[in-house]
Amino acid sequence: MDKLIHPAADAQLIEGNKSLHQVTEDVFQPLERKASPSWWLAFGFASTALAIGLISVVYQIKVGIGTWGLDRTIGWAFDITNFVFWVGIGHAGTLISAVLLLLRQKWRTSINRSAEAMTIFAVICAGIFPLIHMGRPWLFYWVFPYPNTRGSLWVNWRSPLLWDVFAIGTYFTISLVFWYVGLLPDLATARDRARGIRKKIFGFFSLGWTGSARTWVRYEMACLLLAALATPLVVSVHSVVSTDFATANLPGWHTTVFPPYFVIGAIFSGFAMVLSLMLIARKVMGLQDYITMKHISAMCKVIVFTGTIVGSAYATELFMAWYSGNPFEQFAFNNRVFGPMGWSFGIMVLCNVIVPQLLWFKRIRSSIRSIFLITILVNVGMWFERFVIIVSSLHRDFLPSSWSSYRPTWIELGTLLGSFGLFFTLFLLFCRFLPMIAASEVKSVLPKSTACPEAESKKEAA
């Protein structure tokens, strides 16, 4: 991995020959200014989408999930697609903050904070869908194993749906804690810069951080340990999500390749989402010196690498369906590619396998516009991957008389839009009120000799 992403050259990580103070100013000034018109515009769009989503959710809870396009054959469709999509988006944040920390990839410092925030928001979005799908979300606590008056009737520990509860719950908690611990030094900076009520708030949340050497030593150890825990966690989460399907006896779902295939797909889509957001954020927030072409290029390489693995996973599935000699398996995949839902398979292959391959070309990899377009297409493709897996496997089951088709209703589309609204609303609030870049970490990767030009010139004078 080290070779893959420019070997030495830490000097190019942060452009503009910044001093420590300059980094602080660049990161914290946006929080202390009034919001720009472009922020308000984006926030307006995001919160409108959120409002549409809220209306849809309230309506479907009031009326019931008969407002969805499901029937007896297709019992899972849009909501589970969205759930898997959002969980997957979250995975890149953990990968950047934990795996790249363990691999000592210094380029992660500029993007880890916002990628982790993205993880948390994406998991919130994901969690909403199973909650709504319960039909009676106010009884959600039934999924927890608590002593109850029904016996106690305990939960079924052998069900992957219960594993999901624990996996997503742990993932959300650990991501939130990891993110918060990472924020502490920067919250202290915000506290030391602020006055009045802002100082009180940042003072409360920075827990009395002083930057003493003893605390730094423990802090770094804690971050390393959390990273070491988060790395297998992130692999486990999407593996568990994949068992929702893989443990079912349904052709198209019942495959052992699912756990690694889902994990790599999650990293693929997550990196695409991080990159799309970073490309917008660096422009809107003026962070071009921190999120440089080097970061963008490194993320492009991860995308083309994981995209290729995803492509080979599709090929493996198709090959195994043919090679198994199982007529039901063969039918499921034949139907997936050439059946009435074949168009969605086409979109999936085009967006996930073919389009990312363009990133092999340096000319495309250095054009912001084409990268942005590719990352959007990858996200579209990865959404369709889940749709293909779920709907195309379900809609023509073992009994031709029960074959059916699926079309989302406006309520379902409104909920999907609402989840994007929620995600972007939370992300925009984060950009506005918290330091988007881990300033203390960026300071530690600045080239030491140029870190303090004032001190250098003083030395010469002396």
Binding site: W157, I174, G211, L226, S236, K448
Partner: protein, 175 residues
Amino acid sequence: MSSRFHYAKFESEQDFLQAARSCRSHNLKVVEAYSPYPVHEIGEILGISRSKLPFVTLAGGTFGLGLAMFFQYWTSAVDWPINVGGKPFDSLPAFMPVAFEMLVLCAGLGTVAALFWRSRLYPGKNRKVPHPRISDDRFLLMVEVQDASLPPGFVEGLWQQHHAVEAWTRAGEVQ
């Protein structure tokens, strides 16, 4: 016995580190150091030993794993055994995913709780920050000197030699 605390503020990591090194070579006791980002060598100069947090992580993980395995076994095989798809009541491999998640959860929360406990970080804590720009771009060294063990002006000279931008002292009691 009274002693004096000498503080010096630096603008660069190099000056800060060199000053700390030369304090050590003159057998001065560096009691605390503050920096805007972790400086690795300084822990060694202060004589801070390797953090013992990994043991907390291990303990938390073991607790989470044990608790989850025991609880799943007890609920499915002892308290109310239910036949699910003809699987054995004590199907331990099927309990692994939840046990693993509980391992990670307890280990992670335990580690962070230990970090906060040991570093005395808690919400609303009103700790006096030695200098408001430490969290921005300044480095601070704090040296303890027992009375009359050094020629006057010795520490100040040392600070000057290493380009300290500001230096001050404070009397203190030895604890």
